[in-house]
Subunit: 235 residues, 4 copies
DNA sequence: AATGAATGAGGGTTCATTCAT
DNA sequence: GATGAATGAACCCTCATTCAT
């Protein structure tokens, strides 16, 4: 866990130490443009962001932007794609070998998510997708496949582990997994939307928020859970 | 009616039961325009929605729109304000006199929210605010004061009641209240954003979703809560 | 001269005591509309004046205006036509029988012009024509025929009288007549243009201005006119 | 060249001696746009002139206009400011050292004005100001300060010189100075307004007109000035 | 005749995109 | 490759004009 902590926050800068010449396509295309575009799209939305502004923030001229991205839409798509790291495979491995209680696994999952994604500019992608999904259905699908599905799969496996080991009494995992997703979404929305423009009436400490949510999630609000009520709902 | 995909888009159809020829007068127009604008703003965002489109969806010409709202921005503000009826006072009364367990109160709270807000087009306002908050800080502040604050206050009181009556072992209400907000936000985002444009891989039944979240919230995931672990978290 | 003075200023109101049923065309059409339009056209110009504003100032609704004038252009033309009184015939008679020095005739001419036209709202027509002549050439021609020509003819005759009676040593009447026109134009421009929107640095008393111009015109600036220089110019 | 009708419209022709392909760069554009705008504003007025027309006459597209002037109103202001070069200082010097009779000074003053301003397109500014003063009070004030005041000051000094040297018997310079202004105004109005759209009934030669006015101004109409009548006027 | 809600062509302005340098 | 002047389609908004009442 401590070695992981050291990796934290190193993402936004040195992302690909050796470009690896994977496809060599546009690995050289100014990362600055994508970073500038991400910031602005998150801040103002796709339609309200002017191309020239993106170029200016990246320190190049308007024409240069179109040298790398044929249209503003392509730029947007590239921003989304580039910031969606397919890192879940790697995480899967980490969690595959996780030892300890599943409760700790949930805690660790949140922590890792916050440190590697939530706290970085890449978290703005979520707000972007939320805002523009219906204007860019293909991107929404892409995000669904690249981020949501693997993420949910990971969460599903964690919950299943809890159930299998008798630690959790989850009934329907397909719904319960959102108990982990929702706080993440909430936090990101606070960071990039309302929370970014309002005088903070109440300071919201992300890590404390997440911890608090997890503990409530794990142990519930009720002092003495009454199994008889489980699943009845309020209908 | 039970799956989310069915909830979406089942509204643009039956619009004018009997158009009544041209009986609809000045007093009906604003509402029609606001409804059309809400739909489009939620769907495409403020900047990407054209004024003429709003007018067309309301069945009037471009010029008519500006007879009622001097600018597109004022239309936007009116959309937000109009769809935020100060219903919290009335709700407060309902909850003031609530009898029964606080767990039931939480269940009832969610149910009422879904029926009166979540399931209506007004829920799109949340997505709208999330998407445009940084471009319209005044509106964000307005929403904060008119919706978030009263809502949070209501939730806070419910939680406090649970604690006071020894039903809940809440530690920090200022964070715990988001355990109720987050699922609401999540559901609304699904309804108006990603969920509205993706082929529903899995049907998400809102009421079942909410019930599930509430029960998990109330009773926790862990089979046997271990008080010793409470508060340790992953810090 | 005194009976004439009594007639002064009675124009703008009771214009046609008995409508005479001359052509009966639109004698009944609200004079208020034309008056309102004159004011506004003079104030803001033809293009910048909105039809609705004219109607409002006349105390009727937008639709009513178009009941009387099919287009804004026709309204403009009507304003010009209605305010160009063909009163020169009547003036001609007055001047035909004038007895006294031609210098006094010039003085009287100016005085009458100021009192019957210059000081009334009708003087705004001149500014209107000046501003819009090139957009309404037919109106310019109309004005030329109805106002300028008869006016110049009147002035021409006065000057000719002075020359014939040995009172003036005019050489070229075709140019000299503008010596009378120019001060009129100047005064009207001051009244309706610059003078109407600037803090008057210097108060310009119209009657004093006209007197002063006439005396200079009659007697010249030079203390001792040197006939030898006359007509040499500065070439 | 001698008749007014020939002076008008003899300008829109020889526009681009050698268009030089596309050598004309950013520095030439503003001047071209301002010239085009001056022509059109004078011809049709501010409100009736379309931005695209200005651009077209300058040989550029609509968008280019807004590269140089943020709004049509700013374009208008720039037109007025640009065409008012503070040439009065230089003229002041010329007149400071003038030797000869003050009558000759007046003749020279008119001649210089015509050659350097009256005959140039810049004279259209006067019609423009007259027409738009009440819609642009700040511009009217600007024109008042930059053009009228210095000009009047110059004229005032000339008249004062004549009085001081015993050449003129001016009584009230504050009124007499308009005897010089009025013919200028008249000529410019003829050139840019009525005279520009009417079939010239009579050719008006500007220089001859000015000479004629000056001589009348200097020596008066009356053959034998009767000092006893001076100042009586028609009051 | 009078009203004023409704219309839609027109014009000011923006901005993604192009292209000559 | 980089630039930024130029373009013109598109959009917000105005307002002369129409027409049902």
């Amino acid at each position: 866990m401590s070695s992981l902590s050291q990796l934290i926050g190193a993402k936004a800068k040195a992302k690909e130490p050796p470009p690896a010449k994977r496809e060599r396509r546009k690995e050289a295309r100014p990362r600055e443009l994508l970073d500038a575009a991400l910031e602005l799209f998150v801040e103002k939305g796709f339609a309200a962001t002017r191309s020239e502004e993106v170029a200016a923030r990246a320190g190049v001229s308007k024409g240069t932007l179109f040298l790398y991205f044929p249209t503003k839409e392509e730029l947007f798509k590239a921003v989304v794609r580039e910031n969606i790291s397919g890192r879940f495979a790697e995480w899967n491995d980490e969690f595959q070998t996780f030892e300890g209680s599943t409760a700790d696994m949930v805690r660790y999952c949140m922590k890792v998510w916050w440190e590697r994604l939530g706290a970085t500019p890449a978290s703005g992608i979520t707000k972007l997708i939320i805002s523009e999904a219906r204007n860019f259905p293909e991107l929404a699908a892409f995000y669904q496949n690249e981020v949501i599905k693997p993420g949910q799969e990971l969460i599903r496996r964690i919950l299943q582990r809890g159930v299998d080991r008798g630690e959790f009494h989850v009934i329907d995992i397909e719904y319960a997994r959102f108990s982990i997703t929702a706080p993440m979404l909430f936090l990101v929305m606070m960071k990039h939307s309302l929370g970014a423009c309002l005088p903070q009436d109440y300071p919201l400490d992300p890590q404390r928020y997440l911890s608090s949510q997890i503990e409530t999630l794990l142990h519930g609000l009720c002092v003495r859970p009454d199994p008889a009520q489980k699943g009845q709902g309020s209908q």
